[in-house]
């Protein structure tokens, strides 16, 4: 049973987007701060630090997670995915990301990382969503720029594209 004292910094190691990473954190350090300022993964943003805005949403062990409502020490040994891990290659965009760009589903882009993480997980579990389902999912995020409509449209189009890709892969 690990007992971590309040004032010392402790080793925290996990897998981030397929690569092992580690750093030091005292127990109170939030995962959002740890990712951004200790690991240097600044793609995950912080908007409210009380779990409402959704900007810091990431995936921890397959679960959508508000990084601001998580302690860094909690994810020791876990597997994390963040926005930096979505694209298939550094100079390419994923199907979802490309749909966002086509539909102008972002303006300032600050909330976008969290929304992408939610949709990425959602579309894996719900390959044929309807608009109501997408809006229900998105209600866990606040976007102040877009009015949401382009995000909904990008998500639905990405779902269709992903289904096509899956079919093509299956037939190949």
């Amino acid at each position: 049973m690990p007992r971590l004292s309040a004032d010392a910094r402790h080793l925290v190691a996990f897998t981030l987007n397929g690569r092992p990473v580690k750093g030091l954190a005292s127990p109170r350090i939030l995962l959002s701060d740890f990712l951004r300022h200790e690991i240097g993964a600044t793609g995950t943003h912080v908007g409210c630090e009380h779990g409402v805005c959704g900007a810091c949403t990431i995936e921890v062990d397959g679960m959508l997670t508000r990084a601001c409502l998580t302690l860094a020490v909690q994810v020791d040994g876990s597997t994390l995915r963040t926005v930096e891990g979505l694209a298939p290659a550094p100079d390419r965009l994923s199907i979802l990301q490309a749909a966002f760009r086509r539909h102008h589903a972002l303006q300032c882009g600050f909330c976008t990382a969290g929304i992408l993480m939610s949709l990425d997980a959602f579309l894996r579990e719900t390959p044929e969503p309807d608009e109501a389902q997408v809006r229900d999912l998105l209600s866990g995020h606040l976007c102040r720029c877009t009015g949401y409509t382009p995000i909904v449209r990008a998500a639905l189009e990405a779902a269709a594209d992903l289904r096509k890709t899956t079919r093509e892969t299956a037939h190949a």
Partner: protein
């Protein structure tokens, strides 16, 4: 907006968690899904000396039907319960209410028992537990007890749980042919309820539980009332709940919703039974 300092214990077993809790008492806080507690920690509204993370205790992950009860361990996340095959038959009320609890992104982490322990009077899961006459299973290092929902919730964010106790599990009686319905009025989807109503209609009569109005979810049992008799019962109930004004709704509005939404929820439950 950063937490004050605290120590952290990741319990591997229930005994370990209870041991720390027994030693630290009120200075310790159990961390499960953290969806309410962590926000309080960040705002420094809560300043525990030590946090006990119970999410890697295998024994708390139980989600199983035992006789006529569904037992939900302290480590069971809301998303897992919602995704449980057959939930709409086993616990139709919970299946109806749980989608109103937060959002996909918070249900994925938040636990069922954590919501019960938090005892927010507007939350859906405490309301379901009260409506269904469920129980809370409390454990301390050297004791265990089973508390009925109505006795567990003692006030706004206040429960019968002692400082050295933690919730091991909650149990919901499984459905037995009654009609159930759930309706919630909130400012936005996923917000805490202004008024939430859970109704059960069975051979014995009507049971209506209301959240968001009094300090806890409160239930009433009536015979099969109809028409103005039901109106009168709902009106009396509405006043008894002693609603308050807040920034989102007036007390009078809450009473009005208890009358109107209470009635439509009961009617829906009756239809569902038929």
């Amino acid at each position: 907006m950063k937490p004050a300092s605290f120590g952290y214990v990741r319990a591997d077993s229930l005994d370990e968690a209870l041991g720390v809790l027994g030693n630290e008492g009120a200075e310790a806080r159990v961390l499960a899904g953290g969806q309410s507690f962590m926000a309080m920690l960040n705002m420094r509204l809560a300043r525990p000396r030590v946090i006990i993370d119970i999410m890697r205790v295998p024994a708390l992950a139980e989600l199983a039907q035992r006789k006529d009860e569904l037992v939900v361990g302290a480590g069971v996340r809301q998303a897992r319960l919602l995704a449980m095959p057959g939930l709409e038959r086993t616990l139709p009320l919970v299946a109806q209410a749980l989608p109103f609890t937060g959002h996909v992104q918070t249900r994925s982490r938040g636990t069922v028992c954590g919501s019960i322990a938090h005892a927010d009077p507007s939350a859906e899961l405490p309301l379901c537990l009260v409506a269904l006459k469920g129980h809370v299973h409390l454990r301390a290092a050297k004791s265990r007890r089973k508390v009925a929902a109505a006795e567990f919730f003692t006030g706004m964010m206040a429960t019968a749980k002692a400082d050295d106790e933690m919730i091991e599990a909650v149990s919901f009686p499984v459905a037995n042919g009654e009609g159930t319905a759930f309706r919630e009025i909130a400012r936005r989807h996923g917000d805490f309820a202004i008024v939430a109503c859970a109704a059960l209609v069975s051979d014995h009569g009507i049971r209506l539980a209301v959240g968001g109005v009094a300090d806890t979810a409160v239930a009433r049992d009536w015979p099969h009332l109809e028409g103005t008799a039901l109106d009168d019962a709902l009106n009396a109930f509405a006043y008894e709940l002693d609603a308050r004004d807040d920034v989102h709704a007036s007390a009078r509005y809450r009473r009005e919703l208890v009358r109107r939404i209470g009635r439509s929820t009961i009617e829906e439950a009756a239809r569902c039974r038929a």
